[in-house]
Symmetry: C2
């Protein structure tokens, strides 16, 4: 006789396998193979793990890692929205909230509430943890684009000012990461 | 002028992108698409996040998640060794230790030491955290095989006793996970 909470956790674990099919616009380093949301989320969690000392404010690392592991799970239902998409907002909150409630809702009630709250905290980008997690999420594709001769900046003809506008919030999470990231953009657009 | 520790962290983050190319024998749920080590590591970290209450002993969740995020990084150099491989041990420690030292060695010294130590703790499977992390790592492919009409058990004609022998250590990390996992094996081999 298997515990009901355990059964719910198993159902959730099976459901989130679908994140491995959600393709991002960004490609792997030095590659044209597009990245999926699951491997992207792993990479961001690793970045937080090794870079947390670069956060402007002291952060609860476990919370940052939780945010990054779960931040794209809503895309199983809502799909990936490209940061530089000019027709659809990146933050399609209503559709994503519905997705969060359905998917995290597979878990036991207390866990579902915890993960929805953490996901909302990430989206709001107001706490130290959320600001740093957002900085990491914004930095990774810039490093990938840099390795891919401009990557999505070039592919979608994104103007320099748009990249800076969309990315400058990195500074709120990590000054040093922003210095580095802005350098990558400046180098590419000077060429 | 960018900090030297930050530069080392960036070099490490770029290097571990290669984990996304390491293919496992196991396929995604209800699929014949093979899984890569990065998305596998993400999925295990998520399992630990939602299932830590199922550990036999109380665990430090952050440490368990660190173990699972990094546990396969050595395979960038050493390659994936299949659990049921009859010609090569799954624990090719010498080759893997060399890989750990090279890859984690890209980080600032203190961080490199921390991650090598955590990886060794995982491999030794003696602490509560390592036993639970190992249980999660062994459970995931069993769930995948169950969803894929036997998956690698069927593909490689693995005898029932071998599966039980290789997997029974799940019980040391989580009794409830082992009851569930053994049930999956029994169901498949009865068919």
């Amino acid at each position: 006789m298997i515990d009901i909470n355990f059964q719910k956790q198993i159902a959730f674990i099976k459901e989130i396998d679908k994140l491995k099919y959600i393709q991002r616009k960004t490609s792997l380093f030095n590659s044209n193979r597009h990245e999926n949301d699951a491997e992207h989320s792993w990479h961001l969690a690793m970045m937080a793990l090794v870079m947390s000392e670069q956060s402007n404010e002291k952060v609860d690392l476990l919370k940052v890692i939780k945010m990054l592991l779960i931040h794209d799970i809503v895309e199983i239902d809502a799909g990936d929205t490209f940061l530089f998409d000019t027709t659809k907002s990146h933050d399609n909150t209503e559709e994503e909230l519905k997705a969060a409630k359905r998917i995290f809702g597979l878990l036991p009630e207390g866990q579902a509430e915890e993960l929805i709250t953490i996901w909302e905290e990430f989206e709001a980008a107001e706490t130290a943890e959320a600001k740093f997690a957002k900085a990491v999420d914004r930095l990774a594709p810039m490093m990938q684009n840099d390795s891919n001769n401009g990557g999505t900046w070039k592919e979608f003809d994104v103007p320099y000012e748009t990249v800076i506008e969309k990315k400058k919030k990195i500074k709120e999470g990590s000054e040093i990461a922003w210095d580095y990231a802005k350098g990558l953009v400046d180098d590419f657009y000077q060429k």
